[in-house]
Symmetry: D2
């Protein structure tokens, strides 16, 4: 859903007013400032502000007087070293502030990341808009039969149609009733802080969310992961693209050491060592449970 003309005008006004600053500036993220990156059917992610860049990570790691840069190559080497050895504090020296519009059930997962600053649109104070997340047909899945916490095959035909009908009808009815209850036409009008309780979890809310780069990487590792629920993963993916433009060296190290890598257990490591010596290792001889072995094989065979 596009921004309203008023909202777009506010965004444009900010984009038309570049200013001079002595602060570290990251050209790659300036282009993203204020623009809305669409996510799901009505959601978005907008970069509102940022602090620091790849050099700022090195500057802090070296506690230096200047930018901390020796050369781009040195900086990248240092950043990779810091990431590899879990030296997380220099990454905390970069900060980003986002404006996010998202369904309430996504917000409820997101907020569990506590090391961040949040200001959410208040439904005690204000009236929410009539905007609900309705899944696209290619993201309407059945309950997984192998994983209690995941999705299986796509719903099809009549079942899919019926689900979409329910979601749409219930959302709209709930919103109609919300409006009727708070209306002051010929009545007192129910308090907003009470009326909101009738609204389902697919209604959209919005917030300002500010987080440092280390904690953002942690968020991305968990939420851009294949096991995360699709509806939060698409937000993580949108943010990941912004981060790649903002701090390319740090993002590269993150991809190599965190997203693309894998944690092997002591047992898994021992199995790899035996296999490299030519031994045939099976689940029975691995010391792992069936579930662990399946995951271990997945790591070694890389389904991607």
């Amino acid at each position: 859903m596009p921004l309203s003309p008023d909202q777009q005008a506010e965004v444009d006004a900010l984009r038309d007013a570049p200013q001079q600053t002595l602060r570290a500036t990251a050209p790659g993220i300036e282009q993203h400032l204020y623009r809305a990156h669409d996510v799901l059917d009505h959601g978005f992610v907008r970069v509102i502000d940022y602090m620091g860049d790849d050099s700022a990570i090195c500057q802090a790691a070296r506690v230096s007087y200047g930018r901390g840069t020796k050369s781009v190559q040195n900086d990248e080497g240092l950043i990779r070293y810091l990431m590899r050895h879990w030296h997380s504090t220099p990454f905390e020296m970069c900060e980003i502030k986002l404006h996010v519009k998202l369904p309430v059930f996504v917000a409820r997962q997101w907020i569990r990341h506590r090391t961040a600053n949040v200001n959410e649109y208040s439904a005690r104070y204000s009236i929410l808009d009539r905007e609900f997340y309705i899944p696209a047909p290619d993201h309407l899945n059945a309950q997984s039969v192998v994983n209690n916490q995941g999705r299986g095959a796509l719903l099809e035909g009549e079942e899919a149609a019926r689900v979409l009908d329910i979601l749409k009808a219930d959302s709209n009815r709930a919103y109609d009733h919300y409006e009727q209850m708070i209306s002051e036409d010929g009545q007192s009008g129910l308090a907003r802080e009470l009326a909101r309780m009738n609204l389902p979890a697919n209604i959209y809310t919005q917030w300002y969310w500010k987080v440092d780069l280390h904690n953002l990487f942690h968020f991305l590792r968990l939420r851009a992961d294949a096991h995360a629920q699709y509806e939060i993963r698409v937000y993580a993916d949108a943010i990941a693209k912004v981060v790649a433009d903002w701090v390319p060296a740090a993002y590269g190290a993150f991809e190599d050491y965190r997203m693309g890598g894998a944690q092997l257990s002591a047992k898994g490591l021992e199995c790899v060592r035996r296999m490299l010596k030519g031994e045939e290792v099976t689940q029975e001889t691995s010391g792992m449970s069936k579930g662990e072995w399946r995951e271990f094989e997945g790591v070694l065979n890389d389904p991607a």
Copy 2:
């Protein structure tokens, strides 16, 4: 709503099995362990565990080898001193773990207190129960006409009846549809992580919540306050009673210095000084805005 017989049996089993420990034990809170204190129509607060007591606060403040107690009177004096001078770290040395059942819209406010540990019942993994908060008639208020963020007079007559009808009917319909969507009778069954989005914010969820005493006092100060929404205030009130039994000296200091006290601004303090010298001070001569002056008068006149 009472616990189910199975749940009650689990609680009883725990209450029947006292054990010996060398840890500091607070008799006042032992009686509360595991019992459900009812809150709202289906909610509760249950104490699951605690660490420390009034003496533990003093023990940590003194970094002592023993209990830190000189005498009960000395301990109380020290605790009052610590509270008065914002020495918060000794209060962090006590910890409490609660099991709470609460409506989702209350949970969304509660979770904003970030310095706590939380495990919430997962609606990705499990199926929620058919339990919804429906306000009692004496807590069904209109939107306040003086405070955008509060409640005004009670709704009456037909309007109240209509609101209750809507809330009940919509809750039940939403739950019926939730059940229909996830059912695997003759269909694949929508993934739980998707189906939950149809459920309104008055459905009950539950969580384990663990917090230290300093941060709990902060929670109570904000949520047991008259400006907090009624539906979270009743939880804060229930917890406050438990805390008063657990750490009576600390709770007494909290009541005196935080809950019952007031923060005066520099302007407010200057006005008090002038008034004590006999000067008649009005809003116009106070340097305060009308809103500040009204709040200042409220403090001096104590509506309670």
Copy 3:
């Protein structure tokens, strides 16, 4: 102590390279960027970066699409309202990054403020400089006879001279020995991570410290307070001046509602009410301990 020519050149290079940005820019703090504000005999505070301004606080509080500004006057009113009612999250939307050089015993107090990001110069990895804090004669005080945790009268004459001689001689000897132990001239050279243990707590260290405005205000309230140790208070004072230039409206509200105000206890409030009705209240009739009463009188009489 002035920066070395190399350090000054690095600072100058940064100050000579303004860049264009679309981010919110606060003119009042740009002048401070990178410059060293001297504190104590060898310390300093330098602003390395900042995020946000007064408008950014309002923008987040309103979750708005644009700057959140209606007018400067409205913004100030909103900021004062937020501060008065302990709505802290909008203030968390501003962030500042400082480079600080400070004695180790000051750093040990400072680090107790946990909600901040820190990168400290590593004495495991690097060699510390020969720079020690030696108090100026007008800050060389005796132990207080009324407050176990404070200072009394200035030391004078021979006693003062002897103390300064000890501090200087011990500092230099410790550093000489540190150098001798790590030297690789004709020996293996003790590991730096071990040799540092010989250095006293008045040696200077440095760090990058990044914090949001809400937590910075909390730091200032405790550390710019008259009860804070002088050697950390001067850092808080230097930072407070920067903050006043950065976010003037927020700083004004902070001064009125926090620094210049006072927290009255329930008992204190009740006494004020009685006094305003003309009653003569004494410590005996106040319900307060002697210590509390003395502090209460101090608030009402304002020694400043």
Copy 4:
């Protein structure tokens, strides 16, 4: 150094007074309560209190009404699953409180773990004891020649003797001067908050430290690691033994998935896959830098 008779009597009094409680009790850790586990020459770790056990982790993960235990075997499987999949919140439901005596330079590293509660002995308020860490001859190492942040070979002969002489003499002289400066014999006596600045970083301090199990595991992973400085590693090792007795299932999972395991990068994982297919991979064909390759080989060959 043994506790003083007074201190030992305080400890004994606590150990002689078992009490009844309804809380979850972990027999394995009760034996540790209050006892001092010696660390270094004058330091110790003492368990003051704890909350929860292995079952409490499962109880929270299941948000259950009772203990959450189905069977010991099921509990262990669940705990391993939670650890493997980075579900950290159930581990936060256990808490431990320690009394630690440690050299100041160790305390300065330790305090960087921010998600914990701390009360340190105050040298503003109290007088420190004459206790300094002097390394044993088998832990007196030269600076590493391959790692800027580590130790190399042991110092020997005259060099070792000279270093120990310096450390002992400087410690004692610093303490003599500290005592002289604060003495009130015939003088005013320097304020304690100032006098302490003369004391070197090997003086012992003590604190109460309280942390949840998830954050404690994080501390142990970094500080019980071979790259951690020896003087903090021995504290981590002492704590690890306590934890193994307290929550054996969680500790077992931690050992398998964290301490004994390894994080492979995307490049490292790709190399393993190629090697398992029979390809000979060298640093040149690995895509890794020399440093990364050396660490990668270390993982595959396990020096232990």
